[in-house]
Symmetry: C2
Subunit: 290 residues, 2 copies
Amino acid sequence: MDKSNLKLYVDEYLKQYFLNKGSYNKLIYESMGYSINVGGKRIRPILMLLTYGIYKEDLENILPMAASIEMIHTYSLIHDDLPAMDNDDLRRGKPTNHKVFGDAIAVLAGDGLLNEAMNVMLEFTLNSNCIEAIKATKIISNAAGVEGMVGGQVVDILAEGKDIDMDTLRYMHEKKTGALIKASILAGAVLAKAPEADMRILEEYGEKLGLAFQIKDDILDVIGDEKKLGKKVNVDCEHDKNNYISFYGLDKCKEMCSLLTEDCIKLLDSLSMNCIDLKHLTKILLNREN
Amino acid sequence: MDKSNLKLYVDEYLKQYFLNKGSYNKLIYESMGYSINVGGKRIRPILMLLTYGIYKEDLENILPMAASIEMIHTYSLIHDDLPAMDNDDLRRGKPTNHKVFGDAIAVLAGDGLLNEAMNVMLEFTLNSNCIEAIKATKIISNAAGVEGMVGGQVVDILAEGKDIDMDTLRYMHEKKTGALIKASILAGAVLAKAPEADMRILEEYGEKLGLAFQIKDDILDVIGDEKKLGKKVNVDCEHDKNNYISFYGLDKCKEMCSLLTEDCIKLLDSLSMNCIDLKHLTKILLNREN
């Protein structure tokens, strides 16, 4: 696999995965496939692949695991966009899932994607029959659940229109966005049987990268280009949502984001192995425009 | 464990599981715990435990796996009751999850329960580190997903207000209700390392039991007692839903249900082991009033 263009492999895997499947239930594959293929930077799968790639050559071996985490990410976006949640009409410049398929199918498409991610990871685990696959699946599953992403979503909903303290904001972002980003990195490291000392460094790297990623998201929500983002800007402000900007202001956030990225690079430099590709991606994430 | 009162063990496990958990995300445990503890016959966990119990004594060992399948069943009910889906206000005589916690938290409580079921099964798998645990987890996960329960839900939604043929109805019920019932039985058998010949018999038993269970549900929807059921009757008719009654009429359905139960008993009689408790439960399910 060409490490400089992993997105292509992930895109292709996901595109093929949902193509021409189903019988009476065909529509659910179309709905899941629609949101999976509507675009997306595939950051989580690429993070997993590049982390694995620090230690191993056969990146294609873990492609199903990498694709699974994108399925989980996509399910969270479908449910997040529902009228019962954020009620968004656009995602990545296209109508959201429920706008195309209706609310009921969108609920089920989200459920189906989370479940399918588990199916794929369990199939991978059964085929490889190694303890590392179970561990990686568990890391991802835990990060997606109520002590991870779902927990962050809950706090996000509870915080809407309220003043919350810094600890609550940090919890919310660490769980809502950070948990799955960290899990992508850790799962890649576990699957590659990374040394224990490197695991600890990568865990810290994952935490800092997740935080930088979320702050950058908040920055883009204020100063981003709607066309490049493919969604409305200033949404957090309109929804009266708490974020890093409302706490620290734009300039301080930009500074925090740069400092966190520097920390990330330093952490990667302290690993036992060379990881030029992961460092490159880390910098790209800081400078991204969508 | 007292095989004649397994419901108590399942109830207690599930009650303790969601008690006093969480921090900022506390509400999601309350919401999940509310629907888990609102009642329920715990048929799927009991089926798993009794099937396992044909071959093994240590039923308590697989209690987490049994409880997981009830979490999945409960998540499906929470999402099924949402305004975007069936829009039901009552479930087991109590207000549905979204009526108590609001639509957003109800969506997340469903997501959280499916995810938590996976967490519990993966924890069990990691601790036991045996291929049977991976296989059982995969059986349950596959049965819950788009080629199982979710797929059945999709067809149910698509069929509403339309004339469908018998094959579509059968698909819908096999997937929506039957898949998870069959999976409970098969997962129990796999965990107990049942002989291959018994596995095939139990698979057929699971299919027939699932079908009998669904037809009985349809019968109760017509002639059941609202108080005993804890939900409105004649709902399918009001929602213009296809079911076995609308296809075959009440008398034929009662006969089918009895014949299927007889088949189930015969299948159990052909197993290599005695399974008096599973036979007893099979008869109870035929004669149930809720």
